[in-house]
Symmetry: D2
Subunit: 405 residues, 4 copies
């Protein structure tokens, strides 16, 4: 009806296909012409719920403040989108958990949905511009009525963080309390439960560990890379040693020492485990190798889509920290920092969450430290090429695309 012609009549036709029940059409009898053959727009979207859920506390208290309406609607829009993000995230996690990800045909779906989360977060970052049309003075007029209802005391957002993989022990405490203690009984249980489910981080880690080419008795990427790097560094060293003494030679020598240290750290598994224990790295040593392999061979058909996935995961991390930062900026404007007043500052708490501690896929960023010239990357021999291409054929079971939902 109305103006959007998404649904041309032709679809009536396809309605008579198997998945539909026979009694579906008879159930429409007696229905007004406008809704003939199906559900009406407003009912479909349950607008009776959505557009009646704006109750101003200030109005209840007898002092209606205009801008509270914007405050409510903005937060509801955030929650709607959080719901959508969780829906996408759960479906992606399910594809990994069920093992469907081993069928390469499902990678497009994984990628598309992760990319959709990226696009939603991009919108959410922009959405602050709307709430910023409210000034500190407008906000002051009604914030007293909100009391404990903290603006972003959002269960869905905490669940989202948990499911992506923000670890419990890296969270900044608030009010000197564990983050979970700021929620009530049922919600607190939900949070505990989501902490125990496999996170996106964990699932991606397992998938990276299976990257073809890492096998020690196969292509053995890691060993080959190590050899190439230290060979390369030795060649550099010889070159530098042949140079006449000069300030430049000294600098280059110093640089070389630093380089060697950096790469030595890369191949030091104990050091890796130590960094993991401190929370500075998050992926297993093997998963890290898989990620670096995908980086270096991203142009191989087998790795093009996986490479896009790693990029999108970094996008999510980046956008979540940008969201946090935009939030901080808005809070600064709304309530000030209380610097120099003797008052305690929630603003400063929030600032502390804009930190690499909250970047789940921080290793994917930090791998940039370990890039090497293209000619140091181990060459794939023709067999490995074939191996990589054929990998997709190993899985002969057909996995219908929508089954995995």
């Amino acid at each position: 009806m109305s103006e959007c012609p998404y649904f041309e009549k032709r679809h009536l036709l396809f309605k008579i296909k198997p998945p539909l029940e026979d009694d579906e059409d008879s159930s429409q009898e007696g229905v007004n012409k406008a809704s003939k053959g199906g559900v009406v727009y407003g009912d479909y979207l349950q607008l009776d719920k959505i557009t009646t859920a704006q109750v101003l506390q200030s109005e209840l208290k007898g002092n209606k403040i205009h801008d509270e309406h914007l405050f409510i609607v903005t937060h509801q829009a955030y929650e709607l989108w959080f719901k959508q993000i969780l829906f996408e995230l759960d479906s992606v996690r399910e594809i990994f958990i069920s093992g469907h990800v081993r069928d390469e045909r499902n990678m497009l779906k994984v990628n598309t949905r992760i990319h959709r989360i990226v696009m939603i977060f991009r919108l959410l970052v922009d959405q602050f511009a709307v709430l910023e049309t409210m000034t500190a003075l407008d906000f002051f007029d009604f914030r007293e009525y909100l009391s404990a209802a903290s603006g972003f005391q959002s269960l869905q957002f905490r669940v989202l963080e948990n499911k992506i993989g923000v670890p419990d022990n890296l969270r900044v405490p608030y009010n000197r309390r564990h983050y979970r203690d700021n929620f009530k009984g049922h919600d607190s249980k939900t949070l505990l439960q989501t902490e125990q489910e496999p996170t996106l981080l964990k699932l991606v880690e397992e998938w990276l560990e299976r990257t073809p080419g890492l096998e020690v008795d196969g292509f053995n990427f890691w060993e080959r890379l190590k050899i190439n790097i230290f060979d390369g560094l030795n060649v550099e060293k010889e070159k530098i040693e042949k140079m006449p003494e000069s300030e430049e030679k000294e600098e280059l020598t110093a640089e070389l020492v630093k380089q060697r240290e950096i790469f030595t750290s890369l191949f030091d598994e104990k050091r890796h485990d130590h960094l993991v224990s401190k929370g500075e790295r998050r992926l297993s040593y093997k998963a890290l190798q898989g990620a670096l392999m995908i980086y270096f061979y991203r142009e191989e058909p087998r790795f093009q889509v996986p490479f896009q996935l790693l990029t999108s995961l970094m996008d999510i991390d980046t956008l979540m920290t940008k969201w946090r930062y935009n939030h901080v900026c808005m809070v600064h404007r709304m309530i000030g920092s209380k610097a120099g007043t003797g008052g305690s500052s929630g603003y400063l708490y929030l600032r502390s969450t804009v930190s690499d501690r909250y970047k789940v896929f921080v290793d994917l960023f930090n791998l940039a430290t370990f890039l090497v010239p293209r000619h140091w990357v181990p060459k794939l021999n023709p067999n490995v090429h074939t191996f990589l291409y054929m990998a997709e054929c190993c899985d002969s079971s057909y996995c219908s695309s929508e089954d995995s939902d």
Copy 2:
């Protein structure tokens, strides 16, 4: 609680001020610590309604299609924001209707709220990027289940158009039916009713007609402007006539004729009324004069904020047409144009609504045709300066800012 520190404890303090009932705090007894002193975040936002309103028709029909969830959430987000826009729009209309706009102190509020509508529309235009992560093929998988529930069969959007001032008789019919006939009983009545309320266009028109300086027995802007323009054109004419014959002279002469025609049309009230009757102009002749006056004297303190208002009204028009156009683009991608298939096309209907017929404040754009050099604009004499400034003092009644809501 949780992380957002909008609501520091200090507000407990102000809770004890007059508008609050005594029994408010006693009602909190026995409440869990987390919600102490007030409403809890999830209850405040009625998230039980908002986050449970996503029912997939495809799932009901036994064939759950993943992307339908995005489709629902996106449309719900649009409806949430339409609700907010209507809330702002109604409050602005109320300020005009009640006459509070005559107190200059309310202009900041009018401007801020209109600007907020602009910011929301900017978000809504960007929001298409999220829905565009769904492909035509994803959409095809579930669109049959939607049947009559047209994607943008939105009552709120039609109400919004009516309240801004899209006139009934300029609407493109859909399905050969009047737009209202595409809605059912109660909704249809709502639409009829909003057509009969004073539109934003009408209210702005009345306000423009009162622009100080238009008074025939006062500054008489319109007459002065007319004199200056035709004097100016005559001076040009004389200059051109003195030039030696040349191609350039001919061109300039032709241009001058055209100029004279254009300005003659401006001062021809009958022509204006004719254009109004055809829907090519929307404002009364006097309101048009007021708008042009605000344009020319925008730097006068008295006119700075009114000028911003006119600019924001054009922004709304522009963004609404951009929204329509983005919608058209998405529909093209989702269902094709059916060009060359023999099928009828809703896409083409939609395209026809991306038209100046739907620009409510089209006159504010078209006034750009009638700009003149600064030295043709009638000078304000010192008295008029004072008059303009003093205008604000005329209103001595104090109008508390939130009373008008």
Copy 3:
């Protein structure tokens, strides 16, 4: 130096690798510490050119108008980005022309660069918001000084249109003249030349025609699809015929007739050629088949990246029309439409370019008209699966990624 630490000293190290000349470092002797080892930021970016290229005509004419500076800078920013788009476009066209596209390893590169063009156009659409801070009145103050220097009389933009594939004969004439006649000698030649080079449309067409699976003596997608569709329609027909007489039955029957017409048109090659001759379709019949095949089998690993490419090509088309539409909106605001003045309108010319005639990949949108239920899509048999996967192995030659530039 300064603050951006992109370039840590470690890179000094790699500087001593083969492609670098020995004398490079000696050329740095005597250079200030700040630029040691290489080019200085300002020199590198040639800022002496970039930031001195703003000469205001109004200032030259003795009447400096502030806002002309914004006008110049905005247009220069557009031209900078057009240069970048052309650079990406040329590199992609080169990969196609050289045949490197047959090596699947280059598809990531093609996709990334086309996606980059998408991101740039998204920025360019947003960029109008900056120029819109200039009002019609500000513009009026200096537009007389610009005379013939039309705001978007941009050679690069025309070249861009030509290289993507806007055909000469579908262009709307301006000033009753062929578009090329609005440019002078050398520029006009450049335009003619770019019309004769292979367009992106043409190159993509050739690539689509090679889609594996189209071979008549192989999988023969087109014939199988045709059979499935008409079988499907027949099954529907039988179902409907068994229904008792009713209004619904009539509707469904009518719908079925329409459906059959639509699909009959799809398999009618002569009709296709006729639509091509009218400019309503742009791709060859075979390329259309390839595109539909990629749509239907998008989840096959072999087709995931090609499917992304088709999506990005539609993005470019969409964003270019959005850019045109935003341009139209701004021009309306700047100079009005002249409706009802007797003046001729450039605004109306511009509006006419926001048309499907200027959508180069219009067929990719319109294919949405021909989607079918998943169970009508011909099943790939295991051999074809293998065939598809193996296709990538056919090309054994190694194609270094940057050689193709």
Copy 4:
């Protein structure tokens, strides 16, 4: 010509008005038809400079890397916009320095230009999305060729910071060196010089100090406010003391103590000066009073535009820190953090600049700490109303709008 019809022929007409020299038109003789009557588009924009300024270092070194072109163009686009921001900023500073700001008619201009800077920064924040299409691996391929040419070693950006008011002594040192020492001779001098010019911060401070209503022998806003606040706090205290003993009473009492401390700090001039000396406040005590006065009386016609200005100044600060933060995010992705490698990190340096130390108008944010209920704000008596309105009339001299450029 071409498609943009900004410049209709009619403007030829106005060309013959006073400010134009007689010989202007004769200078056009013999010019090609396309450029008749004026400058040609490409010449006007000096595209010969703009579009030829992309020289790839990697190409010069014999190893052309495709993505370096994007790197160059993006930075050039940033520099173009920095040029525009500086142009607007200088013009606004000139209006303040010359005293033209005392003519209220110039406030629209100030506001519009500051708002334009806001819009440009918004674009610059978004612009990172384009550069982010380059991956760490693409960047690695050419970053060695850039050596010392640091990505954002931008003189214009430093000048911009100086002119807005980032103070020398609050800057984070880089490479253990003063920021200025990272620039060469001439540029270093330019920086020193801009440090000594009146900053936007300083000029706004002086303007705030003149806010009408602050006069001790007049309305005496500050004294009245102080009285009202402490009266208000005393009333609260009495209310609380009357409550029966309870946990709530204790909390409220504690809160009240905190409130009193906060407001005591507000009225403590010595404390203010101490905070200024530490860099935690930037405005003079009197200017702070003016800002708070504008906040509280923002709806008075006299203060509506000033209030918008204060809001825009916060926008600039916010967007500059967002820009810095986006920059940090991109650098993290491009070069990693080097955490745990032994390498020193430029990333960490950059992070340290995303700090309130770099927020010039930090006081305008922090004033949110000192908001009070509306009924505590001193009432304007009718005389003061008049006084405020009349303030604008004091300046009788006419200040032509463009003279101030």
